[in-house]
């Protein structure tokens, strides 16, 4: 059957929205949040084929699923996050838990387990994290020892423990990473297998509607056929193969959570009359607490969508792009939720309104599937290699492309993107010459600057091509204004932060010379009209989200 087209995607999103409207009230969410309880009946109902069958998206068609493409999965993730990030995490854990099977399973394994997940509506959990092994899986302690019969390996005995496993206490099927004699490997363990127990549900800061629990394995026997791929030592490769993809899903969580918070604050601001008019008409209120966040959301949306489309062609990989998407979108969502509380004042600080809960929830997106700092390091490593390989030309070449875009379309901030790329190229080169990347802090910050300018570049590029990213509620003219604001600020951040890093670690560099080399004045000069542009975006936001 054909892949899902845009109309089908939008129809699925409508179905999900309608389901949430009818079944997942704010009161239900609030009660479960207070009780720290997963709404398991809701999750099971969302898996029901006749209601939504949401888990079918990740299952290939030949095994009774919908073979969802990256685009529809990220858009569903964004919508789920708007509903509740705890419920979203419960659904995502099944997606994630099935991934080792998707990447490494044999056809027979896929047939057996995917059919079970699809038709019996099984919840899945992904068991990788341990006390000493988070993003650094090398320190893995859980072991899988051979069980030999008649000289042949017939099974494994798994011993060890996992922590912070989403769906840990409620899943039916677990994919578990353990160290086999041949190296790290994924195993499928079913609930109820002797020796396998689940700890109590964690008492978390947020996503309290998601069950999180530790797992304990005491010589848990699994048959050899439960070794994913039937070959030991493939575990890390299988785990890493999906990072680009899984991180994109969490990026969509950050986006969805952030949007929901800001839109709640904006709705409030339209009704809150202060000093003779609604807050949403006050320039300072909008430009400080609302508008910048929405500009970043649209940039994030363009970048996530662009990466999703690439992943659909390349299938797996794109680890750097997935990391950029997640870092940018989740940090933006988190900051936006923080400001949404501020925007609503005392109301925002109470549990009567959703923003306080969203703020607690969205923080997790900066932590799970790779903390922001791990992502900064990943992004830095990926692009540092490009910088070295190209002898410093990597970003200079892109700068030239954006000069050409600017010549064709001077309204999308491509000139600022080009300036930002040149500044970044210069900062990276200074880091190379002066060996500044020996400072771990510099590598983190460079990862952040790279993500900032690369997201701005994609947003500008899409706008230059008159492409409105699906799911956006803005017209192309408004998106161009947003891209212009975003490009100018990103270039400024790259140049000014870059200067701070280089001068802060290398005192013998001439400040004026470096400032000139990154063309800080040229970047600052592009700021003319910035506030007018932001006011225009505010006006559009008021129009679109007016109740």
């Amino acid at each position: 059957m054909a892949k899902n087209d845009l109309t089908t995607r939008n129809l699925m999103l409508d179905s999900l929205r309608q389901y949430a409207k009818n079944r997942i009230s704010f009161n239900l969410i609030r009660e479960h949040d207070a009780k720290n309880e997963i709404p398991l009946d809701i999750l099971k109902e969302m898996y029901d084929h006749d209601v939504l069958g949401i888990h079918l998206l990740l299952i290939p068609e030949e095994y009774g699923g919908l073979g969802g493409q990256t685009t529809e999965i990220y858009r569903i993730c964004e919508q789920l996050a708007r509903i509740d990030l705890g419920i979203a995490t419960g659904v995502f854990a099944t997606f994630l838990g099935s991934d080792p099977l998707n990447v490494g399973g044999t056809p027979e394994q896929k047939a057996k387990w995917f059919k079970k997940i699809a038709h019996e509506n099984k919840l899945v959990a992904y068991g990788a994290t341990e006390a000493d092994a988070g993003s650094d899986l090398v320190s893995l302690r859980t072991r899988a020892e051979h069980v030999v019969k008649d000289g042949k390996v017939v099974g494994y005995k798994i011993t060890g423990s996992k922590m912070w496993i989403s769906n840990g206490g409620v899943a039916d099927i677990y994919t578990v990473l353990a160290l086999a004699p041949g190296g790290p490997s994924w195993f499928i363990v079913e609930k109820g297998t002797p020796g396998f127990t689940q700890d109590a549900h964690e008492d978390k800061h947020g996503i309290r509607l998601s069950n999180t629990a530790g797992l304990a394995f005491d010589e848990v026997y699994v048959p050899a056929e439960n070794l994913i791929g039937l070959k030991e030592g493939q575990g890390f490769l299988q785990a890493q193969a999906v990072f680009g993809y899984t991180r994109l899903m969490v990026a969509a969580f950050g986006l969805g959570g952030g949007e929901q918070a800001v839109e709640t604050a904006l709705e409030y601001a339209g009704q809150r009359i202060q000093a003779g008019g609604p807050l949403s008409q006050k320039q300072g209120f909008m430009l400080k607490l609302i508008t910048p966040h929405y500009i970043r959301f649209e940039a994030a949306r363009a970048y996530i969508d662009w990466t999703a489309k690439q992943l659909e062609v390349n299938n797996h990989g794109l680890a750097t792009e997935g990391a950029i998407a997640k870092l940018y979108a989740t940090e933006s969502g988190n900051k936006a939720a923080e400001d949404a509380i501020q925007a609503m004042g005392g109301f925002g600080y109470t549990k009567e309104f959703a923003v306080e809960k969203i703020k607690r929830d969205v923080k997790i997106t900066c932590i799970y599937e790779g903390t922001s700092e791990v992502l900064e390091m990943t992004i830095f490593r990926g692009r540092w290699q490009e910088h070295l390989k190209s002898r410093g030309q990597y970003y200079l070449n892109q700068a030239a492309e954006f000069d050409a875009i600017h010549a064709q379309n001077p309204q999308v901030g491509a000139d600022s993107v080009a300036l930002g790329f040149r500044a970044l190229a210069r900062v990276l080169e200074d880091c190379r010459v002066n060996k500044l990347t020996r400072h771990q802090y510099v590598t983190f910050m460079l990862g952040d600057l790279i993500s900032e300018i690369e997201v701005a570049a994609v947003f500008t590029h899409e706008c230059a091509n008159k492409r409105v990213t699906e799911g956006s509620r803005f017209d192309i003219a408004s998106l161009c204004t947003m891209a212009r604001v975003n490009a100018r600020q990103s270039a400024f951040k790259v140049a000014s932060e870059g200067l701070r890093l280089v001068l802060g670690t290398c005192p013998n560099i001439n400040t004026a010379e470096l400032s000139q080399a990154v063309n800080l004045v040229g970047i600052e000069d592009k700021m003319r009209g910035l506030i007018d542009d932001m006011d225009q975006v505010s006006a559009k936001l008021r129009e679109i989200f007016k109740k």
Binding site: N4, T7, L11, D14, S15, G53, L66, R473, E543, K547
Partner: protein
């Protein structure tokens, strides 16, 4: 039995505002939905299909984006969709729209029951359904809260002032449906949405249905919209308080003052 359901894509009226300066609708960023009355009519058609095995065809007129509501209908269980899409249809009022839809229905061919929503929530005219029946020269029953049909007859529950009528009619007949106040439209599962891609949606132009261009669009529309404006905000009322006796006295005084009683 063949059932045709006429459906329309409309802006979600809960989110549409009128620009007080220009008098035009602000459509920016407003999501589109299937007109809820049509959605209800469709669900009723699908219930009849469940019982009788009737074929359900959904028909809509609109721009290409309107394919979304046809797809929704197919995902919910309709068999086939037809979209009338052509610049020639643009600007049609209810008269010209009824002509276009009736002409398309003739092209679809055999039909026993035509279901329409009572009205669309963007125009609130309630004229298109009756217009189609008139064009086709078939009987119509309007404002029904329920409809049931076997192969030969329909039985409807029609809402009237102070009660309801149960009516029987021979087919072919056109029925327009109202909807319950607490109506929550059904949406399809992901699997149904996915499978609906395999069902056929025909796109027909004015030429395809052999429509007379002079009867379509602005030329074929006798209605002219003078202006659209939001109703003026209600004046603040006067609150009076006191014991029942005092209130009665005050009310009489006000009524006399305003010359409602002498």
């Amino acid at each position: 039995m063949n059932i045709i359901v006429c459906i329309k894509q409309v802006p979600d009226s809960t989110q549409v505002k009128v620009d007080p300066k220009t008098g035009t609708l602000i459509r920016a960023g407003v999501p589109s939905i299937l007109n809820p009355y049509d959605h209800f009519a469709l669900e009723k058609a699908l219930e009849i299909k469940q019982k009788t095995g009737a074929k359900v065809t959904v028909l809509s007129m609109g721009p290409n984006q309107a394919v979304a509501v046809l797809r929704l209908a197919l995902a919910l269980g309709a068999d086939e969709g037809v979209l009338l899409s052509d610049r020639a249809f643009a600007g049609s009022d209810t008269w010209a729209t009824a002509y276009a839809l009736a002409t398309a229905i003739r092209k679809i061919g055999s039909y026993d029951l035509i279901l329409c929503g009572q009205m669309a929530i963007d125009g609130d005219t309630a004229q298109t359904g009756p217009g189609i029946a008139n064009q086709l020269g078939i009987p119509q029953i309007t404002f029904c809260s329920n409809v049931d049909a076997n192969g030969n007859q329909v039985v409807v529950k029609k809402l009237i002032d102070g009660g309801k009528q149960i009516l029987e009619a021979d087919m072919p007949v056109l029925v327009t449906m109202t909807m319950p106040v607490d109506y929550a439209p059904k949406y399809p599962s992901f699997l149904a949405a996915h499978k609906a891609q395999e069902k056929t949606i025909y796109t027909w132009t004015a030429a395809d249905i052999g429509a007379d261009p002079g009867k379509l669009g602005l030329n074929g529309s006798p209605t002219r919209v003078d202006r659209i404006f939001p109703p003026p905000a209600r004046q603040k009322g006067e609150m009076v308080s006191g014991s029942p006796a005092e209130l009665a006295a005050k009310l009489v005084e006000i009524l006399k003052k305003e010359s409602f009683v002498k």
